[in-house]
């Protein structure tokens, strides 16, 4: 529903605005141009997207994500103290995080959902602090190589589409820290 309001609002607003500013003919042309541009964009980023998804699949089959998750186990134990002793839950969470890092969205989501389901068994119907933390961490992006965005930049004639990586890592780290701090802070203030 939110997208319905958003889309209708954008289109109605541009019609009203073009009538007010006298940009009617430009807007009419733009409506058709935009649709064409979207398909062209998809075609021009298809090659890079498919190549990367292929490389990611090789990483997954070679067991790189399993290695990564073993590396992260101690840090994750500190983040979810109430489940630190629960091997089953912690294994699923670390697999979820490493899949997220590698950008394996299709593998990360089912793992995250499994972790959420296991966690919710202790407090049915109510989000425990650990479950809130899990969801907040999954709403923050920790993907190391944002493939789709790089593909869009490449498709638009950028020569070094990956030069945004340091900025993306900085922003992701800040965002994740803010999410974790907010969750910790709110958990003290919020009554069950």
């Amino acid at each position: 529903m939110a997208m319905t309001v958003m889309w209708t609002g954008m289109v109605v607003l541009s019609v009203l605005c073009s009538l007010a500013t006298g940009h009617g003919s430009q807007t009419a042309a733009a409506a058709l141009e935009g649709a064409t541009a979207a398909v062209e964009l998809c075609l021009s980023m298809a090659g890079v997207m498919c190549l990367w998804m292929g490389v990611m699949e090789v990483m997954r089959r070679a067991g790189l994500s399993r290695k990564l998750s073993r590396l992260m186990a101690p840090a994750l134990g500190a983040l979810y103290p109430s489940f630190a002793g629960d091997r089953q839950v912690m294994d699923v969470i670390s697999a979820n995080v490493s899949a997220n890092l590698l950008g394996l969205g299709n593998a990360a989501t089912p793992l995250g959902l499994e972790a959420a389901r296991l966690m919710s068994r202790r407090s049915p119907g109510v989000a425990s602090d650990a479950l809130c933390m899990l969801v907040v961490c999954n709403t923050a992006s920790i993907q190391l190589i944002p493939t789709t965005v790089a593909a869009v930049r490449l498709a638009r004639g950028c020569e070094t589409p990956f030069d945004i990586l340091p900025a993306v890592w900085l922003a992701s780290a800040v965002s994740l820290c803010a999410g974790i701090c907010a969750a910790r802070l709110f958990s003290r203030m919020w009554r069950r």
């Binding site: 939110a2 997208m3 940009h23 498919c50 292929g54 945004i164 803010a178 709110f186």
Partner: protein
Amino acid sequence: MDLLYTMLVPMMIASVSLYGMLRGVNVYDALIQGGREGLGVLIRIVPALIGLMTAVYMLRASGALELAAGLLEPVLRPLGIPPETAALLLVRPISGSGALGVGAGLIETYGPDSLVGRTAAVMLGSTETTFYTIAVYFGAAGVVRTRYTVPAALCADLAAFVAAAWAVRVVFY
């Protein structure tokens, strides 16, 4: 540094393939399988991309984008966020393909190496579709009382937007 960025992709492809082959993985088969999944993803996002990019193009041509940017400027400017990205901030937490459409529109309009284009790209790369994620996770866990999850997740989003604008200025300008 430039050489690192140019060689990043070929070196990653080569080292991952070599590692996979040494581990006994059918590398070529995995490559094809992953590519097939990539095509599936693209086909799923095309309709949304068409819808949203049409809207962004119309907004841009009608002058509404500049108008909205002007209205939101007093709020966004102190945070260091380029006002042109206002539409992206609104769509990002709600729809992933929608945000990609809006972001691609911005990158196209202002150029991939402009301040606005880079900021939009970093914002896209450092955030997730917050409301969608929350709905899916709590749906799977059967949770009704989500407590403070939404405000905490939105804090992370706001931090990402501000940090993206800041990081682009630090790294590039």
